[in-house]
Structures are given as C-alpha cells and as structure tokens.
Symmetry: C2
Subunit: 119 residues, 2 copies
Amino acid sequence: MDDEIKQVIIVRTDIEMGKGKLAAQVAHASLTSYFDAEKRDKEVAREWLDSGEKKIVLKVSDEEALTKLYTAFRFKKIPCALVSDRGLTQLPPDTKTALGIGPWHAKEIDLLTKPLKLL
Amino acid sequence: MDDEIKQVIIVRTDIEMGKGKLAAQVAHASLTSYFDAEKRDKEVAREWLDSGEKKIVLKVSDEEALTKLYTAFRFKKIPCALVSDRGLTQLPPDTKTALGIGPWHAKEIDLLTKPLKLL
C-alpha cells in the first residue's frame, strides 16, 4: 500500500442531479481522467488497471471548490479532468459537475484531498 | 441520430449502496466496457469519444435480470462488462453490481434494454 495507485472523483453536492445523472458524470470524469493519466504515464495507468482500479468518490459543496482543486492538480501536473455538463437535460449548459483525478500515486492525491469527505 | 453510438450502464436497485459507491460501480462498468468496445471496434469507440460520450444509466431489480442481460449481450457479440464488487466495504464479496454495455450502436442496444427504466 506504500505506493498505492488510485483514482479519485470529486462531485458537487450543491446541484440537483438524479442518481443516474450523478453516476454518469462520475463515469465521465473517471474515463476522461484515465485517458489523461495514460498519456502522462502508461505504467501508472497499467498498474491501476491490474490492481483492481481503486476509485473513491468525494464531495465538495460548490463549483468554486471544484475549480480550485482542478487548478491545484493541474499545477502539480497530476492527471485530471474537469467535467462540464452540456446542459441537455437536468442542468444549465456548461455546469461543472465533477473532477476526476488520476489514476495516480495516492499519496500525492491525498495531499490535496485530505479535508474532503466521501460522497 | 440514425446511427447514434452510446453507452448504457445498468445497475441493480435491490442492493444497498451509498451514492458514492454506486457511482464508482457505474464508472467501473463504463471503463471496462469501453475497453471491450475499443478491442472490438476502434472506430465505434473513437466516434463515441468524439461525439460527447453519451451515457445512460438504467436499472433492474435483481441479480438475475442483470446476468440474463449480460448473457444476451455477449450472445449478440455486443461489447459489455459485468462488474463484481470485491466486497471490501459495503457488500458481500463477488456481488454483481452493474453491467456496462458499449459504446455501441444505440439501435442494437435498445433492442434488449427497451423495457428498462432510467435509474
């Protein structure tokens, strides 16, 4: 567990989404962030797939918290993806809904996500 | 829309999962099914990514319904992935939680999923 690889997905709790909609946003963030990780470091991505794809879903209370985290992860060059909804169904266009991080070294992710709670 | 490509994820509603756990299972099904689709038909997978990765989350009421659908999609050679939870946290080991289907031609998926409701 010392160099665990994991993926974290962070969602906003201040917007109204049905369970299915929420799950689709998380899946979108997961896949897009995975592609970013694979581009950045094929070995880390592969190790994550081979070790059971650990995924953790955390929450923040608003869009500002989400975009600040996105900026911080980009600054640290940790693979990530900010998901905007196209607003075709339940939300206004371009609503930021979720942030995918990694797969990446858990220790490096945790430095920035430690204060956040599980969804 | 005549040859729309989409991904469908089907989840069971008869097991107790928190929202975050559920979203993680959906993400797992989405990613694993995507890899199956990419292996089967790179062009379909690419077209889906380029067209905004449409994802729909549907529900079934028990494990039997989930595994029957899995068998049917496999029989039709439509890319798919059945997700089992390892049972480390909220569920007994090897609980089947979700079925990812596609990305694939929407019309072919719909033939088998038409009776199902949105989660």
